[in-house]
Every structure is written in C-alpha cells, then in structure tokens.
Symmetry: C2
Amino acid sequence: MPMTETFKKAKSAGRKLALLTDEKRNGILRDVADAIIAGKSYILQANVADLKKMEPSDPLYDRLMLTESRLESIAADMRNVSRLPSPLGRTLTERTLDNGLRLRRVSVPFGVIGMIYEARPNVTFDVFALCFKSGNACVLKGGRDADCSNRAAVDVIHKVLAGHGIDTAAVTLLPATHEATASMLSAVGYIDLCIPRGGRKLIDFVRDTARVPVIETGAGVVNTYFDAAGDTEKGQRIICNAKTRRVSVCNALDCLLVHRARLTDLPALCAPLAEKQVTVFADVSAMNMLRGSYPDRLLADATADSYGTEYMDYKMAVRTVSSAAEAIDHINRYGSGHSECIITEDADTARQFQTRVDAACVYVNAPTSFTDGAQFGLGAEIGISTQKLGPRGPMGLEEITTYKWLIEGDGQIRE
Amino acid sequence: MPMTETFKKAKSAGRKLALLTDEKRNGILRDVADAIIAGKSYILQANVADLKKMEPSDPLYDRLMLTESRLESIAADMRNVSRLPSPLGRTLTERTLDNGLRLRRVSVPFGVIGMIYEARPNVTFDVFALCFKSGNACVLKGGRDADCSNRAAVDVIHKVLAGHGIDTAAVTLLPATHEATASMLSAVGYIDLCIPRGGRKLIDFVRDTARVPVIETGAGVVNTYFDAAGDTEKGQRIICNAKTRRVSVCNALDCLLVHRARLTDLPALCAPLAEKQVTVFADVSAMNMLRGSYPDRLLADATADSYGTEYMDYKMAVRTVSSAAEAIDHINRYGSGHSECIITEDADTARQFQTRVDAACVYVNAPTSFTDGAQFGLGAEIGISTQKLGPRGPMGLEEITTYKWLIEGDGQIRE
C-alpha cells in the first residue's frame, strides 16, 4: 500500500520535528514567509490554473482566489505564528509523591495531524504554520478545485524545509481524491488526530467514517436570545454585528429568539438588519410585529426547517419564546454547540443561561462574532471545535498539543 | 426507536445532574455507599446467579465474583470519591480583552458518558461514582456474564436516586447485547464520550465502529529498557515489580530491552523473576546469557510475535539492543503508548528517552506499575487513555470534564 508508506514517512518526520528547538522552527517559518513572497508569481500562476476550471459566478470562486495582497497577508500571518510562544514543553502539573517519585505532565506534539479541507488554498499555509510551530507533522487533503494552488504552496514549503535539512514529509499533500480521504481516516497508528474543515456534509462524513480520533469543527447553528430584561440599543448592535459582520463564517447568527414581553421592541431590534438586506423567517407572533415596519420583500414565514439551519447568508430566523427556559431548551435542541448569546440586564438570568446552555462559547451582551482564536487571545486558529472530547471552541497552538507524564524515581517500587 | 428514547432520557437527566450542588452529589454518593452495605445480600444473590452460569475454572470467574468484603471495599471507594474535590466549575483561563470583554474557560461535565465493559460488576459502581461526582449521566453496557449483578447494582443506585428526587436516567444500564453496543456507538448528539474498557478486541471494535467520540483505554504493551548505565540492583527491583506486582493489569511489563554491554547483568536482572515463575521469551543473545542461570523450563526462544504482545500473564520477552536509540525505536514501533521505562544512571540518556518515547507515561528508574490514577494523585480512575486526543494516561475526575468559554460584555461589537 503506497498510502501506508506515505503515512509512515509522515510519522517519522513528525518524530524528528518534535526534537527541533523553537528558534529553529521560527526561523524556518520566517523563511517560508519570505519564500511565499519570492514565489508569488509561481503560486499565482498555479492559482490561475485552478480558477480557470471554475465559473467566476461560483460562490467558491472568491475563496479559491489568491492575489498578491492575499499572499502578503498569508506571509504576515506566518511571521505572526513564528512570534507566538511555543506551546511545547509547558509543565501542566507537577507533584512529588510521598515515596519521592516526581511526576510532571508536560505538553508535547500530537505527532501527525491530518487535515481535510475544501477549496481554500490559504488553509494549506495556515495549517502548515500552526502544525510546524507545534512540532506536528501534517498530512493535508485539500479540495480538488484548489489542487494546483495547494501543490504550488507545498512545493514552496518543501524547498525551504529541504534547504534546512528538514524531512519534507513533515508536510504531505495527498492526492485530492476520495481514496486519499478514506486512507487517512483509517490510518490508525499514523494519524494521531484528524481535523475536517468544511461544510456539514464533509464533517458528518469524516465523523461517521473515521477510525482515527477526530475533532468536529465549524458547523455553527448559532442563536441569540433577547431576554425580557434585554437592553434594546445593545440588542440592535449585537444582533446586527452577529448576523452581518461576515455571513459566511460559522459564528454568524442564524436564529434570534425574542421574549414575548419584548415583541414590541422587535421592529427596533431588526431595523439595522433591513439596511443590510437580511431576509427574516419569522414565526407568527414575530411576523405580526414586523409586518409594516420590516420590508415586505425581506419577510417570510418560518417553517420547521428554519431553526436548525446554518444560513451562511443574509438570512435569519426569528422565534418568539415565553421564557429564558424556553430559549435555553430551543438552543440545546437546535444549536450545534458552537456559540450562543443572551442579551439581558438581569445577572441571574445571564448566569442561568451560561450554566444551562450546552455550547463551546456562551455570551452575555456581546455578539457571537467574537468566537475566533485570535480574538480570544490564542494567537491563531486552526479551527473551532464543536465537540467536547479534546479542545472545545477556538483551537490555537496549545489546542493542537497533547501531553505526556514524565515520572522520575530512584528505584522505588509499588507495594 | 426505543433506544433513542433511552439516550434522550439520559441526555435530559445529565443536564439536570449538572445543576446539582457538589454537597448534594456527595450526600447521594454516601447514601449509595450505605445502600450497597444494606443491600449486600440482594446484590450477592444476583451475583450468584451470574456465577452459576460460569465454570469456576474460567479465568473470568474471579473477576465476576462479588463478596461481602469486596462490596465493603466498593462502598468505601464510593465514600472516597464523595470526599474528592469537585472537578466542576474550575476556572481554567481568565482574561479581559482590551475592549473590556471578559473571557473565562470553566470546567463543565461532558453530559452523557457511555461505558462499555466486560465481566466486572464492580465497574458499574465505580463508573457511576465518578460520572455522578463529575455531573455526568452514564449509559452502561456491561458484559452478558455479569448482567444479573449489574442489574442489581443499578437497582440499588436507582432506589437512592429516586429517594432524592433525582432522575434515575442519570444511570442507565443497556441490555447486554451487541445491538445495544451498536446503538450507543452511533448515538451522535446523545453520547458525548464513549469509553470502552476491556481487551484489545473490544477496544478495536469500538474505535472502528463508533460515530461518537471515543477514548481508547487500557491496552498496554509495556517495555522497560535497561541501559548501558543502568544500576543492576534498581533494575532487579523495578523489573520484578513491573512484571509481577499484578500480571493481569495493563501497566504490567511485557518486554525487557537490555543494552548489549550489560548482557552479563541479565542473569542477575532476571533472577527475581525466576522465583515468581515468569517464563522468558529471549532473543539469541539473551538466551545465551540466561541459559544455565535461568530455569530451563521457564526459557523459550523469542519469535516475531513476542514483542507486540500484551501477556497479561507470568510471561515476558527479552530483547538485546545496541543503543538507547534502538530501544526507543523498538518502543515506538511495538509499544501501545501506555507506559514505558528506562533504567539508567545517565541523566542525558534518561532525558533523551523521555523526549523521544511516544507514550502516555515515561518512567526513569521506577516501575510502570505506578501508572494508576490513585497513585498519580488523581483520587480515582475511570481508565487509562492510550490516545492523544483528550486526556492521556490515567483518567480521574478532571479528565471526564470538558470546558466551556463564558464571555461577558456590555454591548461591544467586533469591527
């Protein structure tokens, strides 16, 4: 099996990466950043080959496209990563037992991280930077649409690695085929962690198929609850920011829950959304309040499908609830465990909401658009985990390390 | 689907458990401990029904058997768990951003933990205690051999829960069938974490089949390397303790690697093992050294299968290596990432070994028999993780919690 050989090489390269010093790793990251700038025309040429195969009207076209300024920003991000503190070698626990045994729990790389992603060639550089900085080899399975761009990116990285005498299997780009995905997902003993980044369908497929450990990321059915004690002016700002800052990201608002007692404020809460051309799918009570104030062409009746949907668009559901408890139940039923928010001036209700809502990030009086590794002070982000095993929420460098227990004795034995 | 209803109820019970105070949880654990003592004859009667179906010569017979004193020790363990600090509500990270947003990462329960285990009815009580203390509901799938005992155990627990007005779905014992296992492994959205506890076959099946997050536990192919700079007297004690303290546990030694330069010490290193009737599978060089000093009837030639085997018995492989690097390569190839040990007086070699060996617990001059949650100061143990995603090594109460990010603002928005 040639694929097994590929994974074996990645494993071996990962073991060597773990032994580099942080200075060495940072120098290499800076050199790759330079090589991206020096290799702009080579990378852009490859990107044009990908773009030619896609209709410019395709919503993925813009995500696929690289430009000079995008490459500059990718290189700047890589330099940023090189400046972050190393996530390795941190002592997480330290204790000496009565018998003199010394125990330490120390952060170490996973080994090999498998990444499955769709048509965004910048991810190739991002994932390399975060994995390399954290001492992990990475095995990449990119989308077919971006294959020329990804090959060029990895080519640029490999040249720098080889120049430093680093095993180039530290970054391996698999063929953009389903067979490659299947091989990665069953590479037990070689892939220590697999992170799928993409739409719901990809993530479900990976979770349902993988025999290696997986972190589910990204899928965000995001709710915001405007409480009986909510401040209208804060609500306007928070809801508009959460919905419209960037509609195509996973932290964007999908459903506004509004307390029945505050239905009269709904037109004011939604007014900024009308300016941004957001279509609202309203339940009966909300519809009755919005009709007349909200533009008719942007109003539609909510259906059963309106609530569990991640819109990724200028679209939002509105549902009326009779209590905070009902809002919490709605969220725990329809949310995806990503980011949830309450707008309230009542501290008790806020606390209840934060305690009972089962999600990675639970906000009080701030928009879910803040869910992001850089915003959270993690320095960078490889994805946002929506599961509970392993890291939860934004994943930076520390979140792609594991630990080992180091135990030092002097001949003690266990009775 | 009746099974889905079962999981839904567990999920709902878990959400309620998370809201109890630690005092309330501890009181209930103490009451269950009392109920175990009060219900001794009821539980033992059920256990006899299980024992009747098994031959007393079966190696599982002793593991299946409950006795008055074993129940007393189970009750004492439960009281111990009630006295441990709560793993919930710990603030793991706290920061205030420049814009005034306050971020906290706080430990919370997983929700529902699924446990799949074999014929040891004490596990039913242990798992309940650890899950309940950490605010998690548990769904148990025990072995068919122990089904009467497990039903009696859960019955005793349910009576106490009901008496306190706690939803008894907080502890759910599934039928001891393959269908129940299959249902649990595909209960996405209901089972937040699944922990299989048992032999290699069970664990491989769970990992290969599950659609819910899994922690692989237990399987331990454990090595100890006696270095060129090893102390013979420490080596004798450490090797004998690691191999013979309890041969049926996962931290027991399976393969001794000995540096070629110290082959002459091999007879001394193995002498205590002869007293314990340990059969040694030796490679050619080791065999040449041991023949004459080690009892012939306990000596056999090593084969290709000798090195990747978890013996669970008074059996051990011995292999000669030419360097610490060769020992490390052997371990990274044949070990299961559980517990590994070096015996050396050379600090540099010890550090190299700890850095390069890829395992949950890496020992210097102490036996792997210490790998245990209670020994490590975790208070108790639900299993020993051999994977890198999530907790690694012994898992106590903290290791079966996750966290959520709580974000508090005052109307800030993201630009």
